[in-house]
Symmetry: C2
C-alpha cells in the first residue's frame, strides 16, 4: 500500500500545511466526484466544478494547493488529479479506528459498515461496562477501556471515536490520548478539553436536530401547532 | 404543551429573525448547561460562560438576543432564562421525524433512542425496498416511500432524516419536500438540490473521518507507516 512518504513530505511540507480546512473539505468532495467515475481521461475545471457544485474559480484555487495545473484547452488528467488528491488527503491509506462506548449509538456505528469500505476499519471496540466487555459486536470483541493503551497499540489505532454519554466522554478522551490517539471524532454532546496536538471533530446529532427545530419553530410548525390546524 | 404563539411571534418576530446561526448553536449549548442542573436559582454570566466554555462578553451578547437581561450583581434567573431559551429555540415542542432508508445506518438511527428523549420521536420509517416495507424496526412499521405524503401528514412530520445511499438521496428529498417536509437532516454523502424554503443540514460521517485522516496523513501516521516502525 502506498503511503505518504518522507520525500513527499519534505518536498511538499510547507504547501500541505498551508491548505485551509474549507479547501480540504472541498478537495474531499472533488475526490468523491472523480471516484464516482468520469467517462473521459481528462476533465475541465468547469466540468468538475459543475459536478461538485462550486464555481470554477474556487475550484481552480483549490486545485492549485495540490501543485497541480491543468492544461489549457484540455483540462486535468483524471488519474493524475486523483492521485494528487489522495496523496494530499491521505485517502489512500488505512486508518484503524477505536470506537468507545458500545451502547445504542456505538453499536449502531460499529454495525454500520460504511467506515471500513472507506479505509476506516473499526479495529477496536471498548467500554467500561463489565457486562459488555468480552462480548462480540459486529465481529469485534469489546475490550476494557482500562486497557486502551494496549488495545490501541496492538491494532495501530490512529483515530478514536467517542460514542459514550456526555458524562463519560472526557474520561474516555483522556484515555484515548494517553493511548497515543491524536485524532478524535466525538459523538457525545458537550465540550472536551484536549491537548493542542489532538485534532478533534464533533458530530452532535441532537444539536443538528435542534437547529432544524429552531427553523420549524420560526415557521410555527411544531407538532402541537399542526394538530391544531 | 406550550408552543410559540402568535402573540409571541408578533412581539418578537424581528428579533427572532435577526439571530445569527452561530448564536443559535451557542444558545442550544447554554440551554444544555442549564438543563444539566444549576444549584442556585440564579447564575452569573461569568459562571454560565465558564460552564459553556465561551467568554463572558460573547455570552452576554448572545443572551441579549433573547431580550433577557440579568440583574447587575445578581445574575440571571435560571427559570426565566431557561424558558426564554426554550421558547426561542423551539426546544419545548415535539417535532415528529420521518426517517428514510432503513439500511445499516437508518436502522441504527431508528434504534438509537437519543432522538425521542429530546423531542424528536421517529414517527415514520420509509424505504423503497419491498423486502423492508411492512417490517417493524424499533417499534415502527416501515412504509413505502411512494406513500410519503400520506404517512408524513398522518404523523404531522416536520423533520425528515435521509439515511439512504447517495444515489437515492435526491429522489428521497424530493419525495419529502412534496410531502410537505421543510427541514431535512441528510446523512447521505453528496449534494442535494432543494427549494430555498427548505432548511437542510448535513452529517457526513465519511467526510469527518476523511478530515481526521488528512491530519493523520500530515503527521505521517497511517497504519502502514506505523507497522513499519
Amino acid at each position: 500500500m502506498a503511503v505518504t512518504g518522507h520525500t513527499d513530505q519534505g518536498r511538499r511540507g510547507s504547501s500541505i500545511r498551508a491548505i485551509p480546512e474549507a479547501t480540504v473539505v472541498r478537495l474531499a468532495g472533488y475526490l468523491r466526484v472523480l471516484s464516482a467515475g468520469v467517462p473521459d481521461g481528462t476533465i475541465s475545471s468547469d466540468e468538475l466544478a459543475a459536478f461538485a457544485g462550486v464555481n470554477s474559480a474556487k475550484l481552480r484555487k483549490d486545485l492549485s494547493y495540490l501543485g497541480s495545473h491543468g492544461t489549457r484547452g484540455v483540462g486535468y488528467d483524471v488519474a493524475t488529479l486523483t492521485a494528487e488528491m489522495e496523496r494530499t488527503l491521505g485517502a489512500h491509506a488505512v486508518y484503524p479506528v477505536a470506537l468507545v462506548g458500545v451502547g445504542h449509538l456505538g453499536s449502531a456505528l460499529a454495525g454500520y459498515g460504511g467506515f471500513a469500505g472507506r479505509g476506516f476499519p473499526i479495529s477496536v471496540l471498548m467500554d467500561s461496562d463489565p457486562a459488555k466487555i468480552g462480548t462480540v459486536v459486529a465481529g469485534v470483541m469489546v475490550s476494557d477501556i482500562a486497557d486502551a493503551a494496549t488495545a490501541c497499540r496492538a491494532a495501530a489505532v490512529t483515530i478514536g471515536v467517542i460514542a459514550t454519554p456526555e458524562s463519560a466522554a472526557q474520561r474516555v478522551a483522556d484515555a484515548l490520548v494517553a493511548a497515543g490517539v491524536r485524532s478524535i471524532l466525538n459523538f457525545a454532546p458537550g465540550r472536551l478539553v484536549l491537548p493542542d496536538d489532538v485534532e478533534l471533530r464533533r458530530i452532535d446529532l441532537a444539536l443538528e436536530l435542534q437547529m432544524l427545530a429552531f427553523h420549524e419553530s420560526r415557521r410555527g410548525r411544531s407538532a402541537a401547532r399542526l394538530e391544531a390546524l
